[in-house]
Amino acid sequence: MVEWTDFERETIQNIFAQMDYEEIGPAALSRCLVVYPWTQRYFGNFGNLYNAAAIKSNPLIAVHGKTILHGLDRAVKNMDDIKTAYKELSVLHSEKLHVDPDNFKLLADCLTIVLAAKLGSSFTPDIQAAFQKFMAVVVNSLGRQYH
């Protein structure tokens, strides 16, 4: 079981309470597709991903970015047992979507950077550490049912 300090719990709840899902979700996913272009392999039928501008304005990517970000809500609400909360999602990503779990970390890193750009200096080192710890648990849980 993961131990969370009060500061870490508060930090995670605050970040997601203030999050603009419409903006951050699409920004994180599209950034991932630009910075780590091999992740585009999972989006073959999403249309034009030819360059950064195309990716940024791609409506299917935007919708999917929002879906992914809302997928984190389950972890935010179940911080004391994210592993169980993500069991089905993990099976889905393994059995149906066939996503290499290494990609989860790439997306998590992009989300961190999008948040940093949005929050500026209020994304302090301690807040960053709490957020990265949370994302590491999510990433680990999503990869757990792979076999």
């Binding site: 940093a116 750009a117 929050l119 994304f123 080192p125 550490a129």
Partner: protein, 141 residues
């Protein structure tokens, strides 16, 4: 592989950040210490609390080395030769830490530059820092 446009962009960003090298460096170091406590083991002999003189001077030193390397990225191995030796034989920092520190530099840049830290700039910077780290570790074995 870094394209010509990317090299120019990286050089431009680091030239612009040179006046605040100290702030960028210290911030990135603090972020690394907070997220990856193992990295603090290399600094057990110095004061690395926020605002400490050593943290500031060390952050500045690191960023200025990056600035220098960014001026001519095709000459990375030449520019970094002395630092390669220093890291391999004296400092012997485990190269995994280079990745962690690079990530924290990216976060610092994002905080500092906001939406100017575009996906394109981020991609170029990530590639540059990866290349920098790889060259830095070349003499390790």
């Amino acid at each position: 592989m870094l394209k010509k446009k990317e090299k120019a962009l990286i050089k431009e960003i680091w030239d612009r950040l040179t006046p605040v090298a100290e702030d960028i460096g210290a911030d990135a170091l603090l972020r690394m210490f907070a997220s990856y406590p193992g990295s603090k083991t290399y600094f057990s002999h110095v004061d690395i609390r926020p605002g400490s003189p050593h943290l500031l001077s060390h952050g500045k030193k690191i960023v200025l080395a990056i600035v220098e390397a960014a001026k001519d990225i095709s000459q990375l191995t030449v520019t970094l030769a002395p630092l390669q030796t220093f890291h391999a034989y004296q400092l012997r920092i485990d190269p995994t830490n280079f990745k962690l520190f690079s990530h924290c530099i990216l976060v610092t840049l994002a905080c500092h530059m906001g939406e100017d830290f575009t996906p394109t700039a981020h991609a170029a910077m990530d590639k540059f820092l990866s290349a920098f780290a790889a060259v830095l570790a070349e003499k390790y074995r």
